[in-house]
């Protein structure tokens, strides 16, 4: 459904993407995980036509984005990291303008608006001005808007950034629901638990390259099963063990003790890159 070959992009001397090779099959919920500036947003911007690439190839649903950019755009929905709704227009008007941009008929626009606003639980706010909505409601509206023209592929750039935990979980449920309806989803995040909860497969992106790709479970297991966090000489250190008993014994022997927990994706990311995701 998404394929990139040696995708490169630089901003001045900064290399944002360095030969990015990616393949996401149809129906998958795929997450790009990496710190700010890793290249996640740049990849999405190129795939959705917001940015030019320097070189390489990119395809969405088999369409070459260079050869037929307008067709490629019709197949994709995008909810950007920045809230880009028209705050002076109502919820319904935002949906309507988007439908017109994608050449939907008046009947289609009406029906899809109702269907999607009900899905994101915003139908009762259809005539409210967007500026009166909370951050969480705006995020849900952005997802509804991105879906209104019936895309086969949904790009979500940091869909829950800045949201409180309760609202974040509602957005996660929505993303899962959308994916279960058959829409392929590619999302970027720097929230570990978001990638772990949502994604069927994740890719660690670091300095513009994919450094590891697989299911969250597979990747985490490469490091070990258990992590023992200790605080030594002013530095937090994590040690990884395949066996819980070994980890417990290690902690018992550590001066000052420590904490035992299960290994997560962040441990794997640090192990591979030497850097934290956040």
């Amino acid at each position: 459904m998404i394929k990139t070959e040696s995708l490169k992009k630089s901003f001045g001397r900064t290399r944002a993407l360095d030969s990015l090779d990616l393949e996401v099959p149809e129906g998958e919920l795929f997450a790009f995980l990496g710190p700010n500036g890793a290249g996640k947003t740049t990849a999405i911007r190129i795939l959705t036509g917001l940015s030019f690439k320097d070189s390489g190839k990119a395809f969405v649903a088999g369409v070459d984005i260079d050869k037929d950019p307008l067709k490629a755009k019709r197949l994709c929905g995008l909810a950007t990291q920045n809230v880009n709704l028209d705050s002076e227009l109502s919820v319904r008007e935002n949906m309507d303008i988007h439908g017109r941009l994608f050449s939907m008929s008046a009947k289609e626009r009406r029906e899809r608006t109702r269907e999607l606003l009900e899905l994101v639980e915003l139908w009762d706010r259809a005539d409210s001005l967007v500026k009166s909505l909370s951050g969480g409601l705006k995020r849900r509206l952005m997802i509804a808007r991105a879906l209104s023209h019936g895309p086969r592929l949904l790009f979500l750039d940091e869909p829950t950034v800045g949201l409180d935990p309760a609202i974040r979980r509602r957005v996660w449920s929505l993303i899962k629901t959308v994916n279960q309806k058959g829409v392929t989803v590619l999302l970027t995040t720097h929230y570990i638990e978001e990638a772990e909860f949502l994604a069927g497969r994740v890719a660690f992106i670091h300095e513009g390259r994919i450094v590891r790709e697989g299911t969250p479970g597979e990747i985490a297991l490469e490091v070990g099963k258990w992590a023992a966090d200790t605080f030594q000489d002013g530095v937090l250190k994590s040690s990884f063990f395949a066996d819980k008993r070994e980890a417990t014994e290690f902690l018992a022997a550590a001066p000052g003790g420590g904490t035992l927990r299960k290994v997560n994706l962040e441990d794997a990311f640090i192990h591979l890159t030497g850097k934290r995701v956040l």
């Binding site: 709704l85 028209d86 941009l101």
Partner: protein
């Protein structure tokens, strides 16, 4: 093309509708002050040819309003780009640069012609009635189209909202005062008059004034304004195509 064009145009018009009262008030302030200060006070004893100064001033103010309000679409576009990121919504949609530029330009024209209407209402309140026929409106339509297209072109080139203010300060404001709005350009020394003939607004003011005074229209200002429209529209197409980073 049609649906996407309407989407972009409709968005601007809906936003204008939401702000119509404060926008109308702000569009009325400058012309009202000029009419009171220059038309009624300073110009009360002044005649330009066989016309009162207020009669001379009104078509010039209409031309100036059409220019400034058409150019103001650049601010709307930049606010949408830099603060609300709404431009990304258009970039991610299957909208051709032609549809986008035409829609934004015509949104600028709509606002400009609305501002002209406000100037004419103010003129009427001060007892000035002129001939607002096809030549008058045609000149202002072409003038607003060329400045709205220029605004779209420049809006894509600037890197911040502050840069946009600089363009207004250095291009639009001098033109507003020197482009035949407040005085007859031909009354200046020949060299100065020749320089001011390069400004599109000078031709728009001339053509609007001739139309408003019921004089036979000269084709030259219309040809110049049509050429400006074509050049600025092409420039806007080019800058919109390159607007992705």
């Amino acid at each position: 093309m049609t649906s996407a064009f309407w989407a972009v145009y409709l968005r601007e018009i809906l936003i204008m509708k939401r702000r119509i009262l404060r926008q109308s008030a702000s569009m009325a302030v400058s012309p009202l002050l000029y009419v009171v200060a220059f038309g009624c006070a300073l110009g009360a004893a002044v005649k330009v040819g066989d016309r009162s100064y207020l009669e001379f001033l009104i078509p010039g103010l209409a031309a100036m309003a059409s220019m400034t309000q058409a150019f103001a679409i650049a601010t709307e576009i930049n606010v949408a780009r830099f603060y609300f990121f709404a431009f990304e919504e258009f970039q991610a949609a299957p909208v051709s640069p032609f549809s986008y530029v035409l829609a934004e330009t015509l949104a600028g024209v709509t606002k400009a012609l609305y501002a002209v209407l406000i100037v004419l209402i103010i003129a009427l309140l001060f007892g000035t009635r002129l001939n607002y026929g096809p030549a008058f409106w045609g000149a202002l339509l072409l003038n607003s189209f060329s400045f709205a297209a220029l605004a779209v072109a420049l809006a894509m080139l600037v890197k911040s909202h502050a840069d946009q203010s600089l363009l207004t300060a250095f291009v639009i404001t001098p033109m507003a005062f020197l482009g035949g709005t407040f005085f007859p350009v031909d009354a200046l020394p020949a060299w100065a008059s020749a320089i001011l003939r390069f400004l599109p607004l000078t031709h728009a003011a001339d053509a609007a004034r001739a139309g408003a005074f019921g004089l036979p229209p000269s084709p030259l200002p219309f040809i110049i304004l049509a050429c400006c429209s074509l050049v600025f529209f092409s420039l806007a197409l080019s800058t919109v195509k390159k607007a992705r980073n």
